[in-house]
């Protein structure tokens, strides 16, 4: 169970993130998960100085576009690019757009973190 978790929508994302920036909270990271027909995106923040962590969570359709928070927290740009290339999450107006080639190459699997029948059972055991 994640403590201090607040459910939001993509429409209020920038507004909510701006509150953290105004409060001088530190951006920690994002976590994207494939829920089947939707994607769950969680943004983690940490109040400085201190160690309390707070999270914002939204669920979006796989074809939906979400706003980039890199205009507020530049450091989120790597996480956002990673979510795009690993899950196909469309992020609008990223400060740097690696075009799906930040960690993956041109010949790499497409959206490798998305759960589908093709990926299941490959590798690992």
């Amino acid at each position: 169970m994640i403590e201090n978790l607040k459910e939001i929508s993509k429409d209020t994302l920038l507004q909510e993130v701006q509150k953290f920036a105004d409060a001088k909270a530190r951006f920690v990271t994002t976590v994207c998960s494939d829920l089947g027909d939707k994607l769950e995106v969680t943004y983690y923040f940490n109040y400085s100085p201190g160690v309390d962590m707070v999270a914002l969570r939204m669920v979006v359709g796989k074809d939906e576009e979400v706003p980039s928070i890199s205009g507020i927290y530049l450091t989120a740009v790597l996480s956002e690019n990673e979510m795009f290339e690993q899950f196909g999450l469309k992020v609008k107006d990223m400060a740097i757009d690696f075009g799906g080639l930040m960690l993956l190459g041109k010949d790499s699997p497409v959206k490798p973190m998305v759960k589908d029948d093709a990926a299941a059972g490959k590798g690992g055991e």
Partner: protein, 360 residues
């Protein structure tokens, strides 16, 4: 306006132990823009962790990085223990703390050596690495391996430290502390070291927070933040206080790591003196539940973030690892513009970049 030149810094460069490229635009030897290029070492470890049963992922996570291997293994076990949830025996917590601090000691000694090497201070580089060998010897003696220690399991640790090994550890750590302190005094006062690091790559406290920095990089900008303050493992019983510097430059980052080297040795000695007798492992009961958990650990390079989501089966639904360098790389986009081209290697090195961790 002078002509602008774009030059690649890396992926192969003497100060980079691992491959990353920075596309640097400069004008009259001044950096005006930087764009990082990653992707030289991505291995899809997060995906691989969804395909294996829980225990096998320990070995995968330990291979995210060589230097941070021990703490990656511990962090994975800790996040799974929170997800379960289950409590680890007190002695196992102390053993994890001791091995974590040994890892920090050898990681910081490695970095201090790399800094000396980057400055052309070859004798100091060799001395730091000579001392580091003694710490690696202790890891080999207590864990059976110098690099990938593989001592942590879900529910505790797989090895104990006996009284004879404890005596050797204490004696060796005291020697290492004495030798490291003498070298650090030279590093901290040498005019050449200061000339190359003081005032270089400055980040204010506000910038460091907004850029999401962590670890020694953050603490060198005056932010008293360290995951060990959370009191996980045995840290809550060791009177831990973070090392903080306020100047936010390369020199401050070096001082934080230097002081943390000595502090890590002190923490190990204190942990040895307080370590209780008892079990080192408790068998997990039942099956992993459908639950999610987060764990943060203070590695040598900074905060590592582990997120685990179970689905009630023997395999994880999702594992997310955000490593310290992943969060510290964006700060280069702020620190490098405006700096001299000749200072780029030192500034890049000052975040103690670990690309293997970053790309996973």
């Amino acid at each position: 306006m002078a002509p602008r030149t774009i030059a690649p810094f890396g992926p192969q460069h003497p100060v980079l132990p691992e491959p990353i490229q920075l596309k640097i635009t400069y004008e009259n030897e001044k950096v005006v823009d930087v764009v990082p290029a990653l992707g030289y070492g991505h291995r899809g470890i997060e995906k691989a962790c969804e395909l294996n049963e829980y225990p096998k992922n320990i070995h995968l996570c330990e291979r995210i990085c060589g230097i941070c291997s021990c703490m990656h293994g511990i962090s994975y076990c800790e996040v799974v223990e929170r997800l379960w949830p289950m409590e680890v025996p007190p002695r196992a917590k102390y053993l994890r703390t001791i091995w974590s601090e040994m890892s920090r000691t050898h990681s910081h000694l490695l970095w201090l050596g790399l800094l000396a090497d980057a400055l052309g201070f070859e004798s100091m580089f060799m001395q730091f690495w000579r001392i580091r060998e003694k710490v690696l010897d202790l890891l080999e003696m207590t864990c059976g391996s110098r690099v990938t220690q593989s001592v942590s399991v879900v529910g505790g640790v797989r090895r104990d430290i006996d009284d004879e090994q404890k005596k050797i550890c204490i004696r060796t750590l005291q020697e290492v502390r004495q030798e490291a302190e003498a070298l650090i005094n030279v590093l901290a006062t040498d005019p050449t070291v200061k000339a190359r690091t003081v005032g270089k790559g400055v980040l204010t406290k506000e910038q460091a927070i907004l850029l999401g920095n962590n670890g020694p990089h953050l603490r060198a900008s005056g932010v008293k933040e360290d995951c060990r303050m959370l009191g996980m493992q045995a840290y809550g019983e060791l009177g831990f206080e973070p090392v903080v510097e306020t100047d936010g430059d390369c020199y401050a980052r070096a001082l934080v790591r230097a002081r943390e080297t000595l502090q890590a040795i002190d923490l190990q000695l204190e942990a040895f003196s307080k370590m209780p007798e008892g079990e080192i492992y408790v068998r997990p009961k039942g099956s992993p539940p459908a639950n999610e958990a987060v764990y943060r650990c203070e590695q040598a390079r900074g905060e590592v973030f582990y997120y685990a989501k179970g689905n009630g089966t023997r395999k994880l639904e999702r594992l997310r690892v955000r490593t310290p360098t992943f969060a510290n790389i964006p700060s280069l986009l702020v620190m490098l513009p405006g700096s001299e081209l000749a200072d780029v290697p030192i500034i890049v090195l000052s975040i103690d970049p670990c690309i293997s961790c970053t790309e996973r």
